[in-house]
């Protein structure tokens, strides 16, 4: 548990340093994430401590953004006057996002299926 947390902190720290000195447009933790993915790809496995901590974070990720969300109290009047705009934007946007992502994948999948069927058939012909 602790060892997993230490690993995450180290990668985060490394990411923050990189962000500070070389790539200020990308948040440090995102760079830390990328470094860790690269490291895991090289290593070929995730150690159990790290997997355990990552799982805990994933399950309760929501808790971590409560403090920032409570800041909504500062924006309540603004949000009330634009309630309709905000809700329409959010609802339409979420439907389009999910729909478009799914359709693009479905189209790709359809074509790759067709292609693999095609090659399977040509292979079959050769067999005959």
């Amino acid at each position: 548990m602790i060892s997993g947390l230490v690993q995450l902190f180290l990668w985060q720290g490394l990411g923050e340093l990189l962000s500070k000195f070389f790539l200020p447009s990308i948040p440090g933790p995102v760079l830390g994430l990328l470094l860790l993915v690269a490291f895991l790809c090289v290593k070929g496995q995730v150690n159990t401590d790290l997997a355990e901590v990552a799982d805990a974070f994933r399950q309760h990720l929501g808790l971590l953004f409560v403090p920032a969300s409570v800041g909504v109290v500062l924006f309540l009047p603004d949000l009330k006057t634009h309630a309709l705009a905000v809700s329409t934007a959010l609802i339409v946007s979420v439907i389009l996002t999910i729909g478009v992502t799914a359709i693009v994948l479905k189209v790709f999948w359809y074509f790759s299926l067709k292609r693999s069927k095609g090659t399977a058939m040509s292979k079959g012909h050769r067999h005959e």
Partner: protein
Amino acid sequence: MNKRLPISEVWVYLSGDPLFALIITLATYQFGYLLYVRAKRHPLVNPVAISVILTCVIIDLLEMPYEKYFEGAQFVHFLLGTATVALAIPIYNGFKRMQGKILHIWVALTAGSTVSIVSAVVIAKLMGAGDNIVGSMYAKSVTAPIAMGIAERLNVSPTLTVVFTVITGMLGAILAPYIMNALKIHQWWIRGTAIGVGAHGLGITRAFSVNEEAGIYASMAMGLNGVISAIGLPIVLTYLRPYLGF
């Protein structure tokens, strides 16, 4: 009067301590989480939303200014960065599975997140929302920890961004099954990826509760979408902002 004095002294001491904000934050979340489990993890009973609403009510009743609350709650807030780094694990696990689909997923993610940003920003703008609100629509489809990092770099409100993010997650988790069924999409990996892009954290929870494969793809999609947006958004916006007028 005499009896009240010690209690109010204790209160002054407690409310000045960071521990108090931490207790409200964690206790309300715990309460929300219990309700969520009781409600068989229905996306409408969102522990984050419950916790945020209760905390807002409590600090309002106590007349505690937000800055004061945040002084204590920042210890929870700090872990967002670490949680972001932890997203590396689901991304890596997803990579191992999606051999041959990597390019497809990249394209789909880029299309999805572009549509997400453009539609939200344009609609909010057209309907007359202020700059503050419009700006906070940029990163709303990205997982909250990354969304806040992006918001800070774009000089828009991280708070509004994260509030929109949470609402987006709830909406996405509720609507996704209907959207998928309407589009007749039944492959778990496609359903998972789409919900990961559209509804991030909450979508993942939902996906895992339905199907393991969908959950893994959703986690990977959420992480990758965050990375793409964190790298792409600031660059795209610096060049496009003068032309778009927002």
